[in-house]
Symmetry: C2
Subunit: 307 residues, 2 copies
């Protein structure tokens, strides 16, 4: 299954996939607009058509690692130059990408992916072969996906040092709205409300404010591309947050108590700290319901760590 890996887009995530797959001995090629990674000795080019024609000739696994806003343009090129390649992506939403893939007639050999790692930094300069070590990498497990491509994508994730968490595209999008997109929105809100307190408030900011606003330092275009592409699930998560805030406000105003919100938040954080991810074993990829089995395992907090 160790076909060459062709990464399209070499920012923080794509660049780190290129580096990590290379370290593990995979043949890697890449495309980015500036061609900057070539200066670091990688086999990359800014000629997207040429990169894709070569991927097609080599039967490479193509990894789309551009921001959501650039996905359609890249998929159009894939459809033109490498329509039969196994195809995955590293974009932070899954339903919207799957829809774009379908619109370009590429669903047959597409299995979406999302490595759950990142920093407030961005770009090739921040990319790191170790970025995915110990991280979760979601591999979409919807009915009807190509099982062979699924295993190729999972293998790439394992090669990069991640563990594979299977989930349907919709389940993924709902989950990341809660644990990735909402945190960015709340960090932005917190930063602005603190800033509204002026110099005095900012000069008193200590750990709780710094931690709570860290991701507000991320480049706004990246945060918006990620969050806005998942608007449906994010709206639900924002509604849930506003409902909890509103209940807490009433309780504080009427009873002087924050017992419920602080208690439930503490319990939740303890569950996060105590989370024991079990390892998924004994997979039978020949079984007709293998995708359903994978989804059930992911829903229960399981992860694939090896074959």
């Amino acid at each position: 299954m160790s076909v060459p890996v062709c990464v399209l887009g070499l920012g923080l995530i794509g660049g780190s996939v290129l580096r990590a797959a290379s370290v593990t001995g995979r043949e890697v090629r890449g495309y980015n607009r500036s061609g900057v990674a070539a200066a670091d000795g990688f086999d990359v080019s800014s000629d997207l058509a040429a990169v894709l024609r070569r991927a097609s000739a080599e039967d490479a696994l193509v990894v789309v690692a551009v921001p959501m806003t650039a996905v359609a343009a890249v998929l159009a090129a894939v459809a033109e130059h490498a329509p039969r390649c196994a195809l995955t992506d590293a974009v932070s939403v899954k339903a919207a990408v799957a829809e774009a893939v379908a619109q370009h007639g590429l669903s047959g050999r597409y299995v979406g992916g999302h490595p759950m790692a990142g920093t407030a930094e961005s770009g090739w300069a921040a990319s790191d072969a170790a970025l995915f070590h110990g991280a979760a990498w979601v591999v979409a497990a919807d009915d009807g996906l190509d099982v062979e491509v699924w295993q190729m994508v999972a293998q790439l994730a394992l090669d990069c040092g991640a563990h594979v968490v299977p989930a349907s595209a919709a389940e993924h999008d709902r989950a990341v709205a809660r644990i990735s997109h909402l945190p960015h929105v709340l960090a932005a809100v917190l930063a602005a409300v603190g800033d509204d307190g002026g110099e005095l408030a900012l000069s008193l900011a200590a750990g709780s404010f710094r931690d709570g606003t860290r991701v507000a330092g991320t480049r706004p275009a990246l945060v918006r591309a990620m969050c806005e592409a998942n608007d449906g699930a994010l709206l639900q998560a924002m509604d849930d947050a506003m409902a909890r805030l509103s209940t807490a406000r009433e309780s504080l105003r009427d009873d002087g108590s924050l017992a419920e919100v602080i208690g439930s938040g503490h319990d939740a954080r303890l569950r996060l700290d105590g989370l024991a991810r079990h390892t998924i074993t004994d997979l039978d990829f020949a079984a007709p319901d293998v995708m359903a089995q994978l989804r059930a395992a992911g829903r229960a907090g399981g992860a694939l760590r090896a074959w």
Copy 2:
């Protein structure tokens, strides 16, 4: 001005004040219920009345470092056994403590304080002589406060390695509602909304969720004591957060855009990172308006680093 320091309550903050003042050569005594710090060689006792009688005899600076919920009981003992001592505190709200101090007839030699440091840990075992290095330590600067006591409290803060930020009690409470209490409420809300996504969501949680929920790991009783004692200012900060969230929600739903909330949050975080705290110099404590001067300097982001 280097009178002995008598710390009442030896949890994370009080214990760290005791250790830090001791390291700098100050004579330190302390009280806590368990007397645990005595085992580490400090001159502490669980006999509050005796500790206070000694403080009175030595004309010590008394530092109240118990949670807000225990402040009234400790002040009653101070009023009985050491009513003429210079008095400060390290509690995270200032107006409520000043009110309790007034109720116990102790306002004459009281100047409130609040060292802006902490960790998710608590208790004597977590206390650390270096906890306040580089931290802000608010010293209340309301009209009518005793200027000599003000300087004693500021000296203690400087001795502990902190810089002094002057502010009125009300200004302090409004500021910390935004940069300390609201972060705890939002962390709790975020943790609970993530947890509502079940095992799958928690198993995908990466840096943004871990950072955004870190302080939800703090002991709930401490968080509640801190936040609930500042309910007026915290309600305003929660309203501001809900208004921003609600506006962001409308914008995402109607226009698919989070431009305003993400952009303003990013700008605010950049201001935090770029904050240049200027040093307050040339103070004339004999001037009749010295408290107003101090407040103005604190409001502008200034800090006192030495005399």
